[in-house]
């Protein structure tokens, strides 16, 4: 072999070698993040996805059963009821956002002690869920609850708010709004502070009153934040589980069957009935629903969200 042939090859080789080495370094640098991501998010997701096509006992390997889990889920009345409950809950909880906007705007008006209000509204967020459940169970108790007592003063007949499945979802939603208000207030409050004061000054010179300012300045300029809060609230509402668990008190609650959400069904399949494959299917279906709803929100935002 002549040296004239070898040389270019060597050069090429060195170049690829060098290129590969820089790649290697780059991969090495992102490896910690990637490995963490892969182990904690990617792998569980893939494994759940695979399991959704399998019949998996609690212990030991499962076997593939095609789309059996999916057909079973779609044919299951409990699933549709849970879907309806989840949708109703999510719909009502979203009404908490206008409420949060109003409160955030009001707190913004307060010149002193703004932090105190924020802390007060934020308290439910840092309170133990079980404690919240107990307090609300007491408030909503059908026989000696605070709410029914207040109602009785104005002549409204009391109800078994957390023991009658005609009312449980509404009871969850009220507590859900109350629990979510704190976080939404903080985010919206930050958004309000980004609105330049000059706009309000200029508009009041033009004779705009507070209400007009709210609708013409605050709302449009806050819309990106509102959108963000809406997406977050929707996702967490679609994943609601804990309120069913803590507010109904026990699985012997007669309202339990009419009050299940999708994630509660998932919990039941995975941890009570020992059906991991079926549970995985529920998780995947919920994921698809959440992705679809979020995509829809991103599509719709073009119509109402105003970026500067």
């Amino acid at each position: 072999m002549s040296s004239s042939v070898v040389k270019p090859v060597r050069q090429v080789r060195r170049r690829t070698g060098f290129a590969a080495r820089t790649d290697w370094w780059a991969y090495a640098m992102i490896a910690p993040a990637f490995i963490g991501l892969a182990a904690l998010y990617l792998w569980p997701f893939l494994s759940t996805f695979l399991k959704s096509f399998m019949n998996v006992p609690v212990f030991g390997p499962g076997e593939f059963n095609g789309v059996d889990n999916y057909t079973k889920l779609i044919g299951d009345d409990a699933f549709w009821r849970a879907l309806g409950n989840t949708a109703l809950y999510t719909g009502i909880v979203l009404l908490g956002i206008p409420l949060a906007i109003v409160f955030a705007a009001l707190i913004q008006q307060v010149s002193r002690g703004r932090a105190v209000y924020r802390v007060l509204f934020f308290l439910p967020v840092v309170t133990l869920p079980v404690a919240i459940g107990m307090v609300w169970r007491f408030i909503l108790n059908g026989d000696f609850g605070l709410l029914n007592w207040v109602f009785s003063l104005v002549g409204i007949p009391g109800q078994y708010w957390v023991a009658d499945d005609r009312f449980t979802i509404y009871a969850f939603a009220v507590v859900g709004i109350w629990m979510g208000l704190g976080v939404n207030l903080i985010i919206l409050g930050a958004g309000l502070q980004n609105i330049p004061v000059e706009l309000y000054e200029a508009s009041s010179l033009d004779g705009a009153n507070r209400v007009r300012q709210f609708f013409s300045i605050t709302l449009p300029l806050l819309s990106p934040t509102i959108f963000f809060v809406t997406v977050l609230t929707t996702i967490s509402a679609l994943q609601m589980f804990d309120l069913v668990f803590i507010m109904l008190g026990s699985v012997n609650n007669t309202a339990i069957d009419g009050s299940k959400t999708i994630v509660y069904l998932f919990y039941e399949a995975a941890f009570v009935q020992f059906k991991q494959g079926f549970a995985a299917t529920i998780a995947i279906v919920l994921l698809v629903i959440i992705m679809a709803v979020t995509a829809l929100q991103f599509r719709l935002q073009k119509k109402w969200v105003i970026y500067d």
Binding site: F59, R137, A163, N252, T254, F274
Partner: protein
């Protein structure tokens, strides 16, 4: 330099390895060992700690860590930790939960240890042993306690209504009549609590009516037989009479709590409430207990908690030793003295009764062993038992006939049993 250090390090490591290898063969039983013991939280914990202390005293090289979990998380945590290989070494098991663990080979087989220690199985109630028998010839654990059911009743409410206390010859009819007479809606007092409760409730009456819940071969449900339907009607009749709070009221405030609040005259449940009721000084003097009423025959379901071990434990011998101890005579006496629960070990019942001297009729729970039947736990019991609220609520509320509800529930259970 480098090489020398490496050689030295290797030498040290080798010596260490050799030392590590040789220790167990010389003195296997003296090596300090720590095992974990998981229970759900409740009135029994102090007694469990005493049992652990007694065991450690007898076996100074073994440390047992008692771990408590709240009941709502107990099974999901146990399942996840077993699947992940980090389950506690020893833990409480219920008959309606054991099947997936036994089938999944997650439980430590202690048959040999039981033989080696000369444990006499005749010391335990046969009905409870049968509950844990998985038919594979292995023994996974021994019962630590057992329970039968009886009528807990509030004497003050009987006196107020002028109704005679329950006797051991009460029939269903006597019970129903008394429940009606005891009810005083205006005062917020009910004769009885009739929740949809399998263990303290309708399973008992189904057996009393001569029916059964699951067929003898364990493959089908028999809730739709005339006898079983009669057994369920015992409860729906009480509901229809208005002798019990509604299911909604019982959901808001559980039957046991309402009984302790003095709003319910009769509460049918197990021996496991004894200590809690005894500890409630306000209500203690008013509480007494009588056998369940007689249908076509006497019957009560019985069950109990078993101590079992995890197959993945690093110290199987020590765990087996602990399990046998924790279900043995010493431990039974500790439980009995604390009044925590009726011990499964025969001959310790008197100690349990003596722990609560003001309850003079606790003997009814022990007499009930004679006519006790094992709690039905065939197949994926946790799943089909979990369906009871869905299928039986309409019958309890009077929206559907017991026949229809029982038939639908039977079909649903059959489906679960068919899945294996």
């Amino acid at each position: 330099m480098h090489k020398k250090w490496l050689t030295a390090a290797a030498a040290v490591a080798t010596v260490g390895l050799l030392a590590a290898c040789s220790t167990p063969s010389e003195a296997p039983s003296d090596e300090p060992v720590t095992i974990t013991y998981q229970v759900w939280a409740g009135t029994q914990t102090p007694a469990m700690q005493e049992i652990v202390d007694a065991f450690e005293e007898e076996n100074p090289n073994i440390t047992v860590e008692l771990q408590e979990l709240p009941w709502p998380q107990y099974w999901s945590t146990l399942q996840t930790s077993a699947a992940g290989g980090t389950a506690p070494d020893a833990f409480w098991m219920l008959a309606q939960q054991i099947k997936p663990y036994a089938e999944g080979k997650q439980l430590l087989d202690i048959t040999d240890a039981i033989e080696a220690e000369g444990v006499d199985l005749a010391n335990y109630p046969q009905a409870v042993l049968d509950l844990y028998d998985q038919g594979d010839g292995a023994i996974y654990g021994l019962p630590k306690d057992f329970d039968t059911n009886a009528i807990w009743y509030n004497k003050a409410l009987f006196d107020a209504a002028g109704v005679d206390y329950p006797t051991d010859s009460w029939t269903w009819e006597d019970f129903r009549t008394a429940a009606k007479e005891l009810t005083n809606a205006e005062a917020g007092v009910w004769g009885v609590a009739a929740p949809i409760d399998y263990q303290g409730g309708y399973y008992n009456s189904i057996f009393q009516a001569g029916g059964q819940v699951i067929s003898d071969d364990g493959k089908t449900a028999e809730l739709d037989t005339p006898e079983a339907i009669a057994g369920i009607k015992f409860w729906t009749d009480l509901m229809a009479d208005g002798s019990s709070p509604t299911l909604q009221q019982l959901s808001d405030t559980e039957a046991e709590t309402q009984f302790e609040q003095g709003k319910i005259a009769m509460y049918l449940s197990g021996a496991y409430w004894a200590l809690k009721l005894y500890d409630n000084a306000e209500i203690r003097p008013n509480i007494d207990v009588a056998p369940l009423p007689i249908g076509e025959q006497r019957a009560t379901v019985t069950s109990g908690i078993a101590n079992v071990g995890y197959v993945g434990t690093k110290h199987p011998d020590e765990v087996a030793k602990f399990l046998i101890f924790a279900s043995g005579e010493t431990a039974a006496n500790i439980q009995a003295k604390a009044g925590a629960v009726l011990p499964a070990f025969k001959g310790t019942e008197q100690t349990w009764m003596d722990a609560m001297p003001e309850f003079t009729n606790l003997q009814v729970f022990i007499d009930a062993i004679e006519y006790a039947v094992p709690l039905p736990v065939q197949g994926n019991a946790a799943e089909w038992q979990g369906l009871q609220t869905e299928f039986l609520t309409p019958a309890w509320n009077g929206q559907e006939s017991v026949e229809d509800a029982a038939r639908k529930y039977t079909e649903a259970i059959d489906k679960v049993l068919a899945e294996g």
